[in-house]
């Protein structure tokens, strides 16, 4: 087993053990952080590995969340198939977005994703008889059961979040070492060159968008099922900025970085909120400083200085 694999499996084991050690408040937070980290990891597939900067990732999260939530609300589905519908919806939707948005590059790509995301947000508001618009809706506790496990139970929830997180994390370790993962990095570094090495850069970028969108959608569906509420605020522009912030802070193009970034930002806000309301000020300053002085993020620096083997 390689060092990289050992490290990431170790991280998952540590997280599993933490559930039994941490006070309930922090293990609750950690469950949330793991789900959000899957969202950020998905973002990292596009931004960190493939070099595609999206400003509208909340749309994927929301499609997953509403895909699952509406199946329950409108069609009385059970949690597991609803989760499946959320994922299928994310795959189809990200495929559509990819096919259109990838016709553009750079700043235009950023704005196209932003606009699509805004359209999704407005659609949720527009179809308020179905979605209950801005208020959103509750997924009743009774429905949130999978194979006899009650997802609203803190321990079950923690391990459900951990399961999703572990799949995503190990999947990423596998991906970045695979042929495809290396081509994604090649596209980020020099798309023209990658194309002239015979790689279909369009297909690879489309794959990155679909994978990224699906991971975000899975995170969204899981979030709804684990925490019981579905709302339009998950489709708003600021929620698209979060994964960017998480990934930039944690280290773009590193597997564990998005988790580290999510953890840091979450606690930065949580701790700062006890003495100031200005957590957005903190987030803003962090964003500016990161772009100015630390483009590699925390794990990027760790990799550069101490652990070159980190994927």
């Amino acid at each position: 087993m390689s060092r990289a694999l050992t490290f990431h499996i170790g991280a998952i084991i540590v997280l599993a053990v933490l559930q039994f050690i941490l006070p309930v408040y922090h293990s609750g937070n950690l469950a949330r952080i793991m789900v959000l980290a899957v969202y950020a990891m998905g973002y990292n597939v596009m931004f960190g590995y493939t070099g595609l900067l999206s400003l509208g990732h909340a749309m994927f999260f929301a499609v997953g969340m509403y895909g699952a939530g509406l199946s329950i609300r409108l069609f009385d589905m059970a949690a597991a198939p609803a989760f499946g519908i959320g994922i299928i919806a994310s795959i189809l939707f990200s495929l559509g977005v990819g096919l259109l948005a990838l016709r553009t590059i750079g700043v235009a790509f950023m704005i196209v994703t932003l606009m699509f995301s805004q359209a999704i947000y407005l659609l949720i508001l527009y179809f308020n008889p179905l979605t209950r618009g801005d208020e959103g809706f509750v997924i009743p506790q009774a429905v949130r059961q999978v194979a006899g496990f009650d997802l609203s139970d803190p321990t079950t929830r923690y391990f459900a979040a951990l399961l999703l997180f572990a799949i995503a994390l190990l999947g990423m370790v596998w991906l970045v070492r695979s042929r495809t993962g290396r081509v994604l990095v090649a596209i980020r570094e020099n798309e023209e060159r990658a194309r002239m090495l015979g790689y279909d850069s369009w297909a690879h970028k489309l794959f990155a968008v679909v994978l990224s969108g699906t991971m975000a959608g899975a995170a969204g569906a899981a979030y709804g099922l684990l925490f019981g509420s579905v709302g339009a605020s998950f489709a708003e522009v600021p929620f698209s900025i979060l994964p960017l912030l998480y990934v930039l802070l944690g280290g773009p193009g590193t597997v564990i970085g998005p988790f580290v970034g999510t953890l840091f930002m979450f606690y930065l806000r949580d701790i700062s909120s006890s003495f100031t309301d200005a957590h957005l000020l903190v987030a803003g300053i962090v964003l500016v400083l990161l772009t100015m002085y630390a483009r590699r993020g925390i794990m990027g620096v760790v990799r550069e200085r101490w652990a070159k083997w980190l994927p």
Binding site: R103, I111, A119, L122, L280, G284, T291
Partner: protein, 308 residues
């Protein structure tokens, strides 16, 4: 309301919106054109303009017109200086790299918004308009006696709204004169066309950038000062102008001032007119999707010319 007066009213309202939007979008367009960067904090500079206008008008007191005129001068100036400083301290150090600039300006957006909340507070505050007479507009109908004029219910505007339109036209002309006729305009255009050659001819490009960034922000602030007597200054008011300016700049063709003005009028007017016929939320959805599709299929904008 009958169709005719309704349309006239929608057009009048659209004009006011288009006027403010033109100024705001011109600022964004100028910054994009000259510097090739997208300023996501543009809406916050708009908001700052409104908040400063409230601050100035409020601290001066006296007749509303005095406070308003002072705000008209001071607020854009202050905002411009702030923005130029932000460019100098932050964006310059990023080499104005387009993608990093976007991320940094997102950060600036949060910082500005939060500081405003902490100092100015969460409430919306109005600025008293210097004058505000209601002007009823007559309409006609054909009766047995021939053409007759009457004043339909609700068909009106106010003197201040007309002033906003006039002021925006004057300011727009001013920007055009500045760009087309002045030395400074020449410097801006030369920098826009070829940054390196401009540098080789003694143009201090970094300072020009700071100036442009400041000027762009000041234009947004000017739009905001004009609009606060109609709307109020509120710390979250920057979102819509940003999104609309984005739409306008993209439809008009990135960096093209003429396209920007055309698109601002189109979007401002249609915003008023479409909502006569459709659900306004639906209209917004369509507008957003239109922008995305324009970028996908016609990246040079509707009015932009095709790159060679």
């Amino acid at each position: 309301m009958e169709f005719g007066p309704h349309l006239i009213l929608a057009i009048l309202e659209g004009l006011v919106q288009a006027s403010v939007l033109t100024l705001t979008a011109l600022g964004l367009s100028l910054v994009f054109g000259v510097m090739r960067v997208v300023n996501v904090a543009h809406g916050e500079f708009f908001m700052l303009g409104a908040v400063f206008a409230y601050g100035v008008a409020n601290s001066i007191g006296g007749a509303p017109v005095v406070g308003f005129v002072a705000a008209l001068i001071v607020a854009p100036l202050l905002v411009g200086v702030l923005a130029a400083a932000a460019d100098w301290l932050i964006l310059r150090r990023l080499d104005h790299d387009p993608e990093r600039t976007i991320v940094a300006t997102i950060g600036m957006l949060y910082v500005i918004q939060q500081i405003t909340l902490m100092t100015y507070g969460p409430d919306a505050h109005p600025v008293t308009p210097p004058f505000n007479q209601r002007i009823a507009i007559p309409w006609f109908e054909f009766t047995d006696k021939g053409l007759e004029f009457y004043f339909p219910w609700g068909l009106s505007t106010t003197s201040y709204k007309l002033f906003v339109v006039a002021a925006a036209i004057v300011a727009g002309l001013g920007v055009w004169l500045l760009m087309a006729r002045s030395r400074l305009g020449l410097i801006l255009r030369a920098t826009q066309l070829d940054r390196e050659t401009a540098l080789a001819f003694g143009i201090p490009v970094q300072r020009v950038y700071a100036l442009t960034f400041g000027f762009g922000a000041a234009l947004a602030a000017l739009g905001a000062v004009l609009v606060v007597p109609i709307q109020q200054a509120h710390y979250l008011m920057g979102g819509d102008p940003l999104l609309l300016s984005f739409i306008v700049v993209i439809i008009g063709g990135l960096g093209s001032l003429r396209g920007t003005v055309l698109a601002a009028i189109l979007i401002g007017m249609s915003n008023g007119i479409i909502s006569v016929f459709f659900s306004p939320t639906l209209a917004k959805i369509l507008a957003t999707l239109l922008v995305a599709m324009v970028l996908v299929y016609r990246p040079q904008g509707l009015f932009g010319k095709k790159p060679a």
